[in-house]
Symmetry: D2
Subunit: 345 residues, 4 copies
């Protein structure tokens, strides 16, 4: 941590700050510049945000952290890529992984039809929501446990592992008993109680970035899960909120290489939720492969016009087959080099 003193700070103020730093268990290291005196507080600053309180002391201009606040999620802690195994699927390794399915489980028929499309297209995993976070209390809230049972049934029939969302600490156990991967949604990225709960689960967690979550905060949320004992975290970029209204959210494609530089965890991309319109999902999917993502999360629905949730962004089966074809040739080029190095750069 660096403490920058005001240009007019007097010696007594400097002295008080130094004593404070020592009393907090750090070693102060003073450096006098032409216009400012700065003090380095030497020691592990993680978790000790309390140093920030120095900003209230007379004579202090600002306090600047040096270290990244996450540890277990950091590539400094673990250099090689984390590869997460779900059945026969490996996420974070050389093979590009596609997870697809409808936004919500609406009926056995709709889900089974979707599952066969996903399987036929050659995707690796099935997604579908049984508990749905909806902005409006009047919208379809999901089928609940009934939906989980349908998902489990689809896994049996197709062999595809199943990803589904968990919204509340009290549902973690239930969802875990059916699903292969627990999804934490974009509105719960900083629901710390939920993060601790899935951190105690045995199944891998797919952690979505919130619309307003910085990459550092996303890694801190992953840190919650890792620190609770669950090593299996997949990060997912799904678009952030900006001033632009031409699309639903702004897909932060740069998040992929920046995250892969900072962390050993796999990173996938959800272009469907980001853009919100099916016709732009294909080009974004190709961009995600090219930029070095480890996989995609895609919404597919047999009849988007009748979907109870997120119809406008769901692909019809034939569009999804086309997508799988087109990304394959790009993945071949991009993942080859990936297999040699340790990331997208």
């Amino acid at each position: 941590m660096i403490i920058v003193m005001k240009s007019k700070a007097d010696p007594q103020e400097l002295d008080n700050v130094i004593k404070w730093i020592e009393s907090a268990g750090y070693k102060p290291h003073v450096s006098k510049g032409v216009e400012r005196t700065i003090i380095g507080a030497i020691g592990d600053e993680r978790g000790k945000v309390v140093l920030k309180a120095l900003e209230t002391m007379p004579g202090v201009e600002k306090v600047m952290p040096i270290l990244q606040p996450y540890k277990l999620a950091s590539r400094e802690t673990k250099e090689g890529n984390t590869v997460i195994t779900v059945g026969e699927v490996k996420i974070g390794g050389p093979k590009f992984v596609v997870i697809a399915g409808p936004c919500a489980v609406e009926s056995e028929e709709q889900l089974m039809e979707s599952a066969y499309v996903v399987k036929k297209a050659g995707a690796s995993m099935l997604r579908g929501g049984a508990f749905k976070p909806r902005t409006s209390p009047y919208s379809f809230q999901g089928m609940g446990e009934e939906g989980l049972k349908i998902l489990a049934q689809a896994r049996e029939k197709t062999g595809l592992p199943v990803v589904t969302e968990v919204m509340s600490t009290s549902e973690v156990e239930l969802v875990e008993s059916y699903a292969d991967v627990l999804q934490v949604g974009a509105r719960n990225t900083q629901n710390f109680a939920l993060l601790k709960a899935v951190g105690q689960a045995k199944k891998p967690v797919l952690l979505k970035r919130g619309m307003m979550t910085t990459l550092e905060e996303l890694l801190m949320s992953a840190e919650y899960i890792l620190a609770s004992g669950n090593d299996h975290v997949i990060l997912c970029e799904r678009g952030i909120r900006t001033f632009e209204t031409a699309m639903r959210n702004t897909l932060d494609i740069s998040a992929v290489p920046v995250l892969k530089d900072k962390t050993h965890l796999p990173v996938i991309v959800d272009p469907s939720h980001a853009i919100g319109q099916w016709k732009f999902v294909l080009p974004l999917a190709k961009a995600a492969v090219a930029v070095g993502a480890d996989g995609l999360l895609i919404e597919v629905h047999p009849d988007p016009q009748r979907a109870l949730s997120d119809g406008p962004q769901s692909l019809k089966p034939e569009k999804f087959y086309k997508l799988m074809d087109e990304i394959e040739s790009i993945a071949k080029i991009v993942r080859k080099e990936y297999a040699q190095g340790h990331g997208a750069h």
Copy 2:
């Protein structure tokens, strides 16, 4: 809902859309303009976001909602202001209300000292967190039930009603047994499971706006609570996330009159979390009174340098006394006219 057809949509496409609208239970009303045909879908569109799925149909350019998606929270549903009573305090009435206290309950001594400062300054309610949502898993996470007991004790000694945060559905009952008002924090504004749970509680709810929650989404989150049976919701503006980094968040002061135009619920402002630096809390507090807010949420700490959470933005007792003095004279001018009309406009 208005459906705008593409300029090149053919009659068959138009016909399909009309049939779809009818099959969904709406009455279509077609209007042919010079360059576009538009269709009004007449009927209550709330909760029927499914109409949005029309955007996937050939020939459709865009679908535009007309009605606001919330109903119970709307001033159209209830014209007069909702006044929420907590003990002898009334929020949303002519009297301006100040809720103050430390960010977190750290010890009996610290909380009691804070409570007496709050009381002495003439504020109406005491705040303090027992369960703390912290970005880092390594930061102080709050005292839990022990903290709730200390809060209850402070209420007994000072007579001040107590506001404290609840972070998880499984803690609602516990927190409700100690607190007078349940706070839902900025990272849980769209934690729908939690909103439903506090909607079933008997105590009023102080609902904070998320850092990237639109006002419409905030009102939809209030709608979740209202629709679950709890009429007592206080909205709180606490700063939004923008590109500006000179302050912690950007206090959206306009949110106050805009919310009061759209809803009958009381609206308060939390300048401490918004700005993140104590020295700017006073001018922002004055602005909040002047703009027509119903109250303030202020962080006060007897020794900010030693605070375990949010020290930099906490006021020392003497600064808080000054704040209470200065806002009083502005409140006198602004609330007088408020008492006559129904809000700040």
Copy 3:
């Protein structure tokens, strides 16, 4: 400037960085921490952003500036408030200043009618655009020199000094020959050629913050004008662009006390452009007075429904008279204390 080395930087890399710093004319000061080595580069870093290029050197993690990049605009350079005199009006002193008028000069009749309203209400200066920056090339672009003449005529008749916008380097001389204050609009905040040109003018400059301009960038734009020789700069907060769409822009009310902490220049607020709807202008105007702004810029139009530009946010005369009344009593309270100290905090 602080240079943070990577945790795995080797001694040779450290050595190279040190040599680079010395060759650039700075004195390096090395400090070895537990996990990182950091180097202070001692010397005046302003204008030498070239140090940032160190980020490309092997072993360097990041480069963090310490000093603020502006000098002439800084309160460190000049402690007292700058007061700008325009005729008999003083901006930045104890008296709160209101500048009002229509968005655009549309005709002699419309402008003269507006000017008399402004005068009658007791405002200090008249605003009106002759050159209009419009998003659409098909919108009314302003009356040009003809509009300037009408403004000059209104000044003669009412005695009110005149503020008007200049959009291009080639028009500076022309506008200066008619106006009392040159306005640089929000879309030109970083039009550096224009900043240099108005920096050579003799008239004061009203510099609006861009919708996407940080406070630091705004102060750097002021620095351009000051460094070109014009000391008379008035800063104006007029709303920034955020994700929120309920209002036109988000008025960044905190910008006022934060700016007044960093600079000696006067700061005014334009609530009309920020909010974009006349009915919210009054509460925001009161907030601006309360937060410590030095003045207001308000749009007033005798017949907003027929305005050629920005009708929805213009106040009718009677609403403007009410605004002037209501802000006066708040200004009395807030400016009294202002007159004693040096700002809003």
Copy 4:
């Protein structure tokens, strides 16, 4: 334009609005719904933002535009892609185009060295700034006409057409006499005086999107140039400003397919300015090719550590050669299909 009346608007208010619409030259079309009456104002609404003024009339809730405000830039006006020819280079056709060079022309030696690297790598055009928009007045402001001469010399030696920025209306003629393409920078996207001036130039214009310019505003700025008589506009996405601080700006990759859906103009991507760090330029360049951009703008510098501007994001020659290699194989796949259809979707 759709006018939505308030739920409590009375018949007189409705009548007044209808009369107003007629008096403004539109045909009103009334539709009474269950909760709202809406009125369609039939007629060409472009350039008549004046209808927005209806929002000030009693009884009106909101006014919603239906048509996009640009015409010449719209794909509705021209279905096929616009291909812009600069010497032997065609932008917007099947071949992917790379424009590269240093941020600023610093000396003859530096520019010539860069030019040969660009040529050797197989890129199509040379970029380099002679007039530099810099946030700080103390930073290097460019070599001016001297720099233009060096650029012209590099063109002669290498045969590469030259792109360079113009910052002011008074420099358009000068820059045009040396350059092959005039660049309008991100801070001048809404410098309407400059847009009109380059609209009268004979050379193509490379129009960068501002950091907070919406896609609709970008197209309106293009419309300014087109409406002034210059058909040759290339749009460039270069990152927008968001809350995320891990990178310089957020590259809005979705802007590419969305723009190509709305306009016939070519769209290129500048990953260097967006991300601000050389090590992430390569993956973003690949994403830009994959998403369907028509070209790239890349910063290359023979010695980034000594660059006077934007060193941290400039590629060294060997990195640039690698980039050209890697994007070629992706371009082959993506542009093949492009050549058949009319865009990226």
